[in-house]
Symmetry: C2
Subunit: 350 residues, 2 copies
Amino acid sequence: MTRDNRQQVGKRDTRRATSYDVARLAGVSQSAVSRVFKTGASASQKMRERVLAAANEIGYRPNAIARGLITKRSNMIGVVISRMTNLYYPELLVQLTQSFSDRGIRVLLFTLEHESEIDVVLEHTLQYQVDGIVTAAILDSAQLDMLDAAGIPVVLYNRQAKDAQAAAVCCDQEEGEAWLVSRLIEAGHQRFAIISGPEDSTVSTQRTSGALRRLSEFGVNEVTVVAGDYSHESGFRGALEIQELLGALPDAVIAANDAMAIGCIDAAREVLGAQVPEAVSVVGFDGIGAAEYAAYQLTTVRQPVARMTHATVDMLLQRIENPEIGHEQRIFQGTPVRGRSARLTEDGGT
Amino acid sequence: MTRDNRQQVGKRDTRRATSYDVARLAGVSQSAVSRVFKTGASASQKMRERVLAAANEIGYRPNAIARGLITKRSNMIGVVISRMTNLYYPELLVQLTQSFSDRGIRVLLFTLEHESEIDVVLEHTLQYQVDGIVTAAILDSAQLDMLDAAGIPVVLYNRQAKDAQAAAVCCDQEEGEAWLVSRLIEAGHQRFAIISGPEDSTVSTQRTSGALRRLSEFGVNEVTVVAGDYSHESGFRGALEIQELLGALPDAVIAANDAMAIGCIDAAREVLGAQVPEAVSVVGFDGIGAAEYAAYQLTTVRQPVARMTHATVDMLLQRIENPEIGHEQRIFQGTPVRGRSARLTEDGGT
């Protein structure tokens, strides 16, 4: 249904007022107008009032972008985020935008369907002459070199560069999985399956290999791994696939994120008639909002999104200020969440 | 835990290559370089190859922003979204960004903690000289006038302007609620309670008043309304508050969004020991991902986000192309979802 509700508006002057218009009206020079609007530049109180009154009258606003061309700063940061990252961490983008905004910097958003599409998007970020880039998609050394040559600092969010060093802020995926595996093992779980994330996700690779490594340290070397894509549906399908491959559910399913863990629980309960955690323990990773819903109460590892976001903003601004500083990696510990979706021993962990 | 991993990088020339540098290297004029990079401008194949080879060699990229100053287009759209909107519709932002991106337009993101903060943010969008604005926050007539005077078209997403007309793309909140109420009434529900959204949310106001109006048409005039803030927790608290006010749960709880409906179900089951839908029917609105989780399977109305997003992009681009066209409102019907969180009669609705 579409309602049409047109009303004619009068023709109007859409030309933007310039600093010259303000100068003419205020009877001062254009450079005086510039000084009034420039942070830190000197102008008398009287001059300031005169200019601001004139600016107000004709609706003049300093042009942040034109100013950027002069200061060589656009005051814009490119944020490259994959579709899936945003669907499961909407708060990441909100907090990142808010945090940059508090420093007077705007976020120019670039989304990817898949992490591997990054090449095209990088080219676009360069054309908009952003001051820096935060990317939640993996970069290789050629891409890092290109950004380096263009003089654009980059911080990787929850990613490490392929075959190269880069500034990065991460959650310790492997340590988080090690905590989960240790708690499951000490509570007597013996047969394990893993639902991994998309093939091109480094976070998934780190989580899966972290879990496998810890399991191997405990002598568990036969682990069924099925592939998901981070979505709830793929977790649901993953549980059915595991049941089919093994002929029964294992003692525990380790999902590479919370959304898939919830999908796995849904399939276990609704299709396979298996209680969680009585018949099968299911653990996730991330600490998304739905992980706390009463019906799931996931055993998981929560990423400290607020701390990671602040670290990302700080690190990028430092690199913009001083492009010559060396790379830094800040790796944050996740917060273990006992939840109720896994059978853990009383004193296991927090 | 923070790991420090510094490595020194050599000093490098961070000055960006200009079209003059390309012209010098290619042995052509600067205007020839401009023509090669301008869409639709003529240049011989030989000239094109020569310029592109030179541009490639020194890493020149046309500056989208400087070009914008000349064409009077920044090719950027400001998207103003409130924190809560994004937390419950991450796909809105992803689809909007992707859809603009397909047309070569970038999204400059502005987030609000509360819809009422819009004034400050509007001022910022103007400074960045965006070509247009999509806002999922309410605007009043003074704010619309300001944008109009600045020559910046705006499309309201799921909002209607306060005491003024504006271009808008909405889901029909009232019709959606009317569907939900009619199904509940025909299935015999008599006592109703509502958990509303934040006071400054027009969507919540429309949903709540839409439900109340339809209930009144059916002769139900005593309805308990408690205030939520769109969050899961506030739906949880809302259920407890309703139980305390009424001394018992009503036949049905109408939550102004899905997240609160899920919170309400959690409280009913976990704290009040009431089965859903056997003891109490709970309905939501939105059709978020979690509404489909097996543990909830919400009876709700799904917003057609993809269609609404495309309509928004089309409408804004039309207004940018021709600022003189009158306002249009496109109001989309939501998709009723029967789900399993309400006791409905067999033949009720879809």
